[in-house]
Structure formats: structure tokens, C-alpha cells
């Protein structure tokens, strides 16, 4: 039966992975996600479930270890934070190109460069536009609570194995390090080697038995026609993801006149801003993308017919705002607000930005009467 615990996001994710029957984890220390590898090491996972946990010599080695275990059909993941995830980009591109199931966790911190260890959402572009080389995308899940940090592990592996593709859990230092109660699922039995071969033996490198041809895991296709066919295979997956596995949450959108779009930790803060605005009679709604790819494009396109303006609230200098604009096809003003450098914006700051950038600015550009102040 499931268990209720008070845990940090990073630890909840680690525990959930053990319970989800994950086979291996390869990681490297970096604030603000180190609790994840520390927790795993404290759990003696080899004894608990036989799960392999190894601290690699670098994030590059770690992602290539993920690539190795994934090539044999094992459930494997890694975690890091922004600079470390940058180091993993080539490996992630390989995992996408070689069509391997794997999960990568990014507990984002402020950047660029060494940046700060405080929370940030400035890795949005890297995550959804493909941080590595080539035509590929990542399925990106953005948790906004410790519960979702826990739940999304199993969801991520389901998608990874459904599509034989890498999945990114895009968290941040705030969600990773804050403590909340979390309901943990019961322990799942880890697949036996025979079960792995039964499930993945048609493609995985588990040892060429007499009954089949050898399996080769590679992302190399020197013949362009073959490479193009491979790219088209990837594109078909992404289309299917958009059709079948889009996830988002609408809060107070039905009667909304203004809309905030925010994910992860920003969505929680924005929710408070919505409450305050509504208490002052201004109908603001919140659309929370749970998957950043696939992105709720259609939902935004429809909402753009209903609201007078949209504010994209992100802890960065403005990244998701571009996708919001593209989705609404510029039918309505779309602006960005977000603190950077690791500073967490407050609900009041969000409302102030909504007022200045959308409500007032909106009325000038669209000749509407001035709305009552929400401050």
C-alpha cells in the first residue's frame, strides 16, 4: 500500500525511482540536486531491489553510462543541474538518435555559466528546443510539487519505453529542495533479465542468441537516405506524443479575461497571484503546461480568443513566452515577466507585471477602457 512521507523533492524522486523498479542510476554531484544521489546511495539500492547506483567521474560519463544500460533495455536514469545537463547534451542527442528509452532529471539552477545555485527556469530553451545537435526533441515533464517529482518518475519511464526515447524531468532548485508531504507508491518488482529480454530483446544488446540476428545500437547512418528515414521515425514519435501524451492543467480559465501561463515553481506562485486578482474582481486564469513538449498549443490558440492578454511567467529572461506567442499566432498581446539570477518572483510582482504589461498596456494597444487596479 502507498505511504505518506515528508520529503524533499529530490529525495522523493529518488525513492520513487527505487519503487518504480528502476534498474540503474548514474549520477554526479551538483547543487541543487545532490540530495538525489545522496539519498540513493544511503538506500543501499543493490540490496533493496538490485538497482545499480554509481557515481561517475563526470556528467558526460554518467549520461554515456545511461546510454549503455539503456541500449540493453534496462530502466535507467540520471540527474544533474543546468551546467551538468549542458555536459550531457551530446549523450542525450545520441540517446534520441539511437532511439533508446532513458530518463534525465534537470534540477535547474541560475545560469549561464557557473551561475548560481538558486532556482531558475532558464533551461527551457535547452530542454524543449533540443539542447544537443540534430533534429530531435525531448518529451519534457515539468513537476511543480514534491508529489509530482515522485509521480513523474514512473510516468517518464512509461513514455520512454512507449516511444524508445529520452524523457526529461525539468524541475528546479526550489521544487528539488523544498519539503512537502508525498504519497509514495508501493514497491514494484524489478524486471528479471529474462523479462527485459522478453520486452526489449528485439532491439536491445543483451547478447546475440542463436534465434536472432545481432542487435546493433547506433545513431550513425552514413547513407543520407537512411539518416533521413531515421529522422522521420523520430518526427513520427513526436507527432504521436503531441496527439496522445500532452499534459496541462487549467485553473480558473473558464471565465478568464486575462491569462497567466506558468509551469513548475512559477505556476505555484502564479496560482496565488490569480487568487489575489480574483479577490479584487479581475478575472485571471492560469494555464499550467505539465509537458513542455508536447506544448499546449491548441489550448492557447483557443484561449487567445477568450482573453485580452497573456502573461508568461517564468524564472528566466523570457523563453516559453516565444512558444506562447507562436501558439496564439499573435491574436492577443503576450508578454513575459520573470525574475532571474535565482531570485523567486512574488505573487505581487506578478500582478504588477500583469497590470503594467497586459492590462494597461493591453488597453492602450487595443483601445479598451482602463480596468480597475489590482494592486
Amino acid at each position: 500500500m502507498s505511504e505518506l512521507k515528508l520529503m524533499k523533492g529530490n529525495e522523493a524522486l529518488a525513492e520513487a525511482a527505487i519503487r518504480a523498479g528502476v534498474d540503474a542510476y548514474f549520477g554526479y554531484p551538483i547543487t541543487p540536486q545532490t540530495e538525489l544521489i545522496e539519498y540513493l546511495m544511503s538506500q543501499k539500492t543493490e540490496e533493496r531491489t538490485g538497482m545499480v547506483c554509481l557515481q561517475a567521474e563526470s556528467e558526460i560519463a554518467a549520461i554515456n553510462m545511461v546510454y549503455g544500460a539503456a541500449s540493453t533495455g534496462k530502466k535507467v536514469f540520471t540527474s544533474s543541474s543546468s551546467p551538468g545537463v549542458s555536459l550531457k547534451q551530446e549523450g542525450i542527442s545520441y540517446i534520441a538518435g539511437a532511439e533508446l528509452p532513458a530518463v534525465i532529471v534537470n534540477v535547474v539552477r541560475g545560469g549561464p555559466g557557473l551561475g548560481t545555485i538558486q532556482p531558475s527556469q532558464a533551461d527551457y530553451f535547452q530542454s524543449v528546443k533540443g539542447g544537443g545537435h540534430g533534429d530531435y526533441k525531448l518529451y519534457v515533464l515539468a513537476p511543480s510539487s514534491v508529489q509530482e517529482m515522485s509521480d513523474f518518475v514512473e510516468d517518464a519511464f512509461d513514455i520512454a519505453f512507449k516511444y524508445n526515447a529520452p524523457v526529461l524531468i525539468l524541475s528546479d532548485g526550489l521544487i528539488g529542495q523544498m519539503m512537502e508531504k508525498v504519497e509514495l507508491k508501493p514497491q514494484q518488482k524489478r524486471r528479471t533479465d529474462a523479462e527485459v529480454i522478453a520486452q526489449c530483446g528485439s532491439w536491445a544488446t543483451t547478447g546475440k542468441t542463436k534465434d536472432r540476428e545481432r542487435n546493433i545500437i547506433t545513431s550513425l547512418d552514413l547513407q543520407s537516405e537512411k539518416m533521413e528515414a531515421r529522422v522521420h521515425r523520430l518526427l513520427k514519435k513526436y507527432e504521436q506524443m503531441e496527439k496522445e501524451d500532452l499534459r496541462f492543467e487549467k485553473i480558473n480559465c473558464d471565465d478568464a479575461e486575462y491569462l497567466i501561463v506558468a509551469y513548475g515553481s512559477s505556476a505555484r506562485i502564479a496560482q496565488k497571484a490569480v487568487e489575489i486578482a480574483r479577490s479584487k474582481g479581475v478575472k485571471v486564469g492560469l494555464l499550467r503546461p505539465i509537458t513542455l513538449f508536447p506544448f499546449p498549443k491548441k489550448q492557447l490558440f483557443d484561449l487567445a480568443d477568450q482573453v485580452k492578454g497573456i502573461l508568461s511567467v517564468e524564472l528566466n529572461a523570457g523563453q516559453m513566452v516565444e512558444d506562447v506567442k507562436l501558439s496564439t499566432e499573435f491574436k492577443v498581446p503576450v508578454e513575459h515577466f520573470g525574475r532571474t539570477g535565482g531570485i523567486i518572483h512574488t505573487p505581487e510582482e506578478i500582478l504588477e507585471a500583469l497590470e503594467q504589461k497586459i492590462i494597461n498596456n493591453g488597453s492602450i494597444r487595443h483601445h479598451k477602457t482602463r480596468e480597475s487596479s489590482i494592486l
Binding site: 554515456n64 545511461v66 549503455g68
Partner: protein, 257 residues
């Protein structure tokens, strides 16, 4: 006795192993990669472990090893084969896992992965073909390029003052407690081939002991890169490479020779 009488099936004493595919090798005429590939597969064939062997191919001339080796193989990013192999060996502890790498892959970009896989004593075999040059990309200087040796990126000869001296990875990893068997071989003459095969076989048999990594360097020629005919290259190798990279066992059963 006529040749036709001799070449009857029952008289056959040597042929290509069935663990090599029928794909024509992409390697230049006389290149040691072909021989090293075949020796590796002959060992795996003779040990009867093909069903439990998983290979990891590098980036470099032997990136296409999986077109020639008739076993399950995973192609690793440049330099990362030891990390890829580490994960495979750890999640499948009973398998025979090996990497097959060139000098650019193992001793340049993959230095950290090589050192740390060896330091952890992973239960894998590393086959390291050292031809002192980047072959696939057309003959550039490698970490193992000899002092004064010309390449497309050291056209006037490798200058030790600006580019350092060649790295002896094999002696280096032999210092790490995690390495159990470390040897340097070559495959250009029948005597060397027989010794190399024995070394590769010992390396794979060590996997059963789970006592650390077996690291087999094969000093080889690169005819296109060195701009020599195969036999001239092999002669040049003997005269120039072997003094810097002496052949023979460096560490056996965990003890330095």
C-alpha cells in the same frame, strides 16, 4: 599431389570465423584493425561465449566494427566506450563486455573514461588499437603520435615542446589497482598474432574471475595516415613505434611485471 586434392573440406585447417560477418572490411589494405577484429572474434568463437558477449564500438575507423562483428554491439560517443561498457557490465554482471577503441578515442577525448573505468576495476575488456594517428578523419596527430612524426595537424613533425610527448596509456592504467591484466601486443607478423590472440583470450577469460579490468593495447600500422605501403609501415612500426611502445605483458594477475 594436386592442389585440388589438398583443398578438400576435411583438410581445412584455418578459415575466417563465423563471428565475423561477410561485409567487406572498410579498413585500408593491410590495416591492423582487420586482424584485431578477427582475433577478437576468433577468441569469442573458441570460448563459445558469443551469446553472452556485448561489444562497444568507438568513434574512429572502427566505429563500424558492428558491421563486421557478428555479436550484439552498441556504438558509443567518441571516447565514452568505457563508460558505456561500465553500465552494461554493471547491469548485466554475467555478460562478457568489451570495448574496442582507437588511440584518439581512448587516449584523447576518452582519457577520463579510460582512467576511471580502470580505476574502478570494471569487469570488462578494453581492446585499444594504437596506430599513433587519427585514421578516420584523415591522418591527424593523436596523443600517441611519436615525437617528430608527421601528420596533417603536425605537418612539420610533432613538436614535443608545444604538443607534449606521446601518452603511454597502457603503462599509465597499469598503475591503477583496478587493472588486473595489462599488455601490449601487435598483429603484423604471425608470431605477434599468436601472442596477441593468447593475450586477448586471457583478457576475456579474466572476466570470469571478476578481479578487475583487462587492458590489451595493440600497436598497429596506419598505412593511409603514415603514407606507406603496409609492409613498409609494419617495418617503420618496428623501428619507431616499438621502442616507444615496447611489446609484452605489463601487469599480470594484478601485479606489475
Amino acid at each position: 599431389m594436386e592442389v585440388l586434392d589438398i583443398i578438400k573440406p576435411e583438410n581445412q585447417v584455418f578459415c575466417k570465423t563465423k563471428l565475423m560477418t561477410n561485409a567487406a572490411l572498410s579498413y585500408c589494405p593491410g590495416c591492423g584493425h582487420g586482424t584485431a577484429h578477427n582475433l577478437t572474434m576468433e577468441v569469442i568463437d573458441e570460448m563459445g561465449i558469443a551469446e553472452d558477449t556485448i561489444g562497444v564500438a568507438p568513434v574512429g575507423c572502427s566505429v563500424l566494427a558492428y558491421d563486421f562483428m557478428n555479436i550484439d554491439m552498441t556504438q558509443a560517443a567518441h571516447g565514452r566506450a568505457p563508460a558505456v561498457a561500465t553500465a552494461i557490465a554493471r547491469t548485466w554482471p554475467e555478460k562478457y563486455v568489451f570495448t574496442y577503441q582507437g588511440d584518439g578515442d581512448l587516449a584523447a577525448i576518452g582519457t577520463a573514461e579510460t582512467i576511471h573505468a580502470c580505476n574502478r576495476g570494471e569487469n570488462i575488456v578494453i581492446i585499444f588499437v594504437n596506430n599513433g594517428i587519427y585514421g578516420m578523419t584523415g591522418g591527424q596527430m593523436a596523443p600517441t603520435t611519436l615525437p617528430g612524426m608527421k601528420s596533417t595537424t603536425s605537418p612539420f613533425g610533432r613538436d614535443v615542446k608545444t604538443m607534449g610527448s606521446p601518452i603511454k596509456m597502457t603503462e599509465l592504467v597499469a598503475q591503477l589497482p583496478g587493472t588486473y591484466y595489462v599488455t601490449r601486443q601487435s598483429v603484423h607478423t604471425h608470431k605477434n598474432v599468436r601472442k596477441a590472440k593468447k593475450a586477448i583470450k586471457k583478457a576475456f577469460e579474466n572476466i570470469k574471475l571478476k578481479k578487475g579490468i583487462s587492458f590489451v593495447e595493440i600497436v598497429s600500422n596506419c598505412n593511409s595516415g603514415w603514407k606507406m605501403t603496409p609492409n613498409d609501415a609494419n617495418k617503420w612500426m618496428e623501428d619507431n613505434m616499438f621502442p616507444y611502445y615496447p611489446l609484452g605483458d605489463i601487469k599480470v594477475n594484478g601485479k606489475l611485471k
